[in-house]
Amino acid sequence: MERVMMKGNEALAEGAIRAGCRYFFGYPITPQNEIPEYMARRMPEVGGVFLQAESEVSAINMVYGAGGAGARVLTSSSSPGISLKQEGISYLAGAQVPCVIVNVARGGPGLGGLNPSQADYFQATKGGGHGDYRLLVYAPGNAQEMVDLIGLAFDKAEAYRNPVMILTDAIMGQMMEPVVLPPLRTVAPDQPWATTGKRGRSKPNIINSLGLVGEDLERINRELQAKYARMAASEVRYEADGVEEADLVVVAYGTTSRVARSAIARLRQEKKKVGLLRPITLWPFPQQILAELATAGKRFLVVEMSAGQLVEDVILGVNDREKVAFFGKLNGTVPTVREVYDRIRSLLSEGGEG
């Protein structure tokens, strides 16, 4: 296998193409511009479609159309642009249209700034649009995972007929790492539910999120909830590094997991027992392992670039606020390795392990 050096954003774009995605609809915004830039050049080479829409709202509705016809389709944006797409995402979830949405997050709220942020966690995992719906949300931890998880995202989107989100940030999108690319897949858009003509069937396929009659909407929502329960039961992914023997488990994803890992490596040289739990799916969230570690008497430190979002899910999983400490940075700076190291050291000494 040949290795190449790729930026996170490029790895997402090429990973999507390798996974058989042949439709991209988007609108420019920093820090994800490498994705449309890459797609504009690459899609014609593989017989695909790149289209720069007139707005994010337009792009997400193009995704609805292509996804409804059974095609593997991608859109990408960054925080303010993802907010604009929320109405469309709710419709996609309601109509059960598979697609992949990438959020290379930047600082908010509002226009915010161009620095990396993890403050879109609630929006991604708790439903940024209206209604009772869930996205499957992946948080890659390196450039290779960008390639691997976006490929998986297309497969899962189709398997569950559900939108899947990749939540990453400006640093992960911009940093460069060696990656191995999988072979190019070509996936024929051939779904029994897709709106591609009746083809001999007596009833037409309909893609819709409307349920005007009360009982209809009740039934639709029950079906959706049953599907989300199946996803929650089988799609949880995480990386657990040294958590069994740890006194303290750091919980972090994406950029902050990388910083935490560097801090933990140094602490382990000092014979401190510190583990890392890195959620790879942010929804469904790895509650079970957290509950087990909490029962085993571990304490936890959540490190994230927000005022405290991931920490709420960790508290739910641990089910004991006293065991969960929090270290957050607010939408401008990334915590340094030293800061995380110091925080872990002081928590260990408070607990008598230092």
């Binding site: 290795r3 190449v4 050096m5 790729m6 930026k7 490029e10 090429e14 920093t30 820090p31 511009n33 700034g113 161009l114 620095n115 400006a170 640093i171 911009q174 940093m175 460069m176 790492e177 060696p178 950029t255 990388r258 910083v259 890992r261 560097s262 140094r266 990334v334 915590p335 340094t336 390795v337 030293r338 190291y341």
Partner: protein
Amino acid sequence: MEAGRITIFTGPFGSGKTEVAVNYALYLRRQGQRVGLVDLDIVNPYFRSRTLTRRLKEDGIDLVSTSPGLEMADLPALSPRIFSFLQSPDHQVVFDVGGDPVGARVLGRFQPYFQANPYQLWLVVNPYRPGYEDPACIAGLAREVEAASRLKITGLIDNSNLGNLTDRQVRARGALLVEAAAGRLKLPVVFRTYTDEAQLTVEQAGREQVFPLKLFMLPPWEEEENWS
């Protein structure tokens, strides 16, 4: 390896121009030169040399990019101070240009100075970047950069690397590809970069022009920390 007092680093997006330009500015400074570093990257607001302004100041290097307060903006704004470097005959001026022909286009703005002063325009190449493993593609990009900047490339910089996975084999294979591109363009390979001597073959360490790189554009989790 230098003739003129203006050195311009250009090349494909993500080829390592900024690392090479910053290291080259520091190298000139160590030779006792007055050095001005111009961050001309108006393509992408991340991992630009302007993030090192304070650190380079300590080393005696003036860095000029955009107006103060706009360093983290994605605005194509240039500082008038760039001209003060170009007009100062005792300054070595190093240009760190944005990626691809689109990044090189802004050089046209300074055309009269490049005509009046001897310059070297060096194309930084990493053949492990997708699309540039083929010497013909590197040569094609070189022509596009020349057309966009209205300047002639005078040499190639071999910055072959696979990040933390760079070893002697990776460097040796990269060197052949960059050599082939240089042959097509009838240009010299000015120097080959390395971050660790273990990456060099005996011949490279002995005969060829090699240039040590200290990496500055690191992600937050690899940045040097003060552990005292």
